[in-house]
Symmetry: none
DNA sequence: TCATATTTTGACAACCGTTTTCGTTTTCGT
DNA sequence: ACGAAAACGAAAACGGTTGTCAAAATATGA
């Protein structure tokens, strides 16, 4: 694990939600790092391959990443217009995901859930 | 509904699964249509807006479409090792997401759910 | 240590699916 | 049939991602 790769991992674990490669790149540069965008992508790919981060695609095709060892587990409902996020709890979903995993013979089951909508102020 | 748009809809309903815009374009050209790729995209966008087709993103960011008549919205449980995906149904989650949206004053609520784990073969 | 092999890095270009642009063609109402 | 509005297609633009390649960092070993 090189220093740069570790920096990306650190940057990602600083956030509880999902973060795009470009976001992470901006974060790192803002902190003074001289890392390149290419390296951020490579680091994320490596971390993804080794199962240390989860990847998913947003509706507009952008890849977003999350450190998948987060214990403080919660979800968000995000406004499409103003991007405000409200934390929501979901024992229902947690249970459902675990059940689905068991049902299909999967172990070490984790899940990602994001809810989108238009908030009261913006609609 | 223009003739071209109707042709795209027809082409899509000819398949039971998901089909990309470019696939549909190739199909239509093969049938002798002189439709342009741009129009295929526009037709799919219109059909998607009006709720006549479902859209989702493949892991490599490509948008795929499906005529949504009988089939319903579903999710996947993906193996971390071999990337096999199993379709799972989640009335539980659908309901939960809708409830959460209503509870916090959000309208037009959608959600993304991905479940990860290690499948029986890979563990 | 020093020299050499290997890996990692980052600027930049290439890639590819998608969207925008813009001039032309078709459709639709009157 | 006429004019306005919508739809069309070719090509260019766009944006996120991946490939290229030479330089820099790191590991290896004599």
């Amino acid at each position: 694990m090189s220093a740069r790769r570790e920096a990306v991992r650190q940057a990602l674990s600083g956030y509880s939600g999902f973060r795009s490669a470009q976001d992470l790149y901006t974060d790192l540069r803002a902190e003074g790092s001289k890392i390149g965008l290419t390296t951020v992508y490579r680091a994320l790919q490596a971390l993804s391959d080794s199962g240390e981060v989860d990847v998913l695609r947003t509706d507009d095709g952008e890849a977003v990443y999350r450190a998948c060892d987060t214990e403080s587990h919660h979800h968000h409902i995000v406004c499409r217009v103003c991007a405000t996020a409200v934390e929501i709890e979901g024992p229902t979903v947690e249970k459902w995901a675990a059940e689905m995993g068991a049902k299909h013979g999967f172990s070490g089951v984790t899940h990602t859930v994001e809810v989108f909508g238009t908030c009261a102020d913006c609609s």
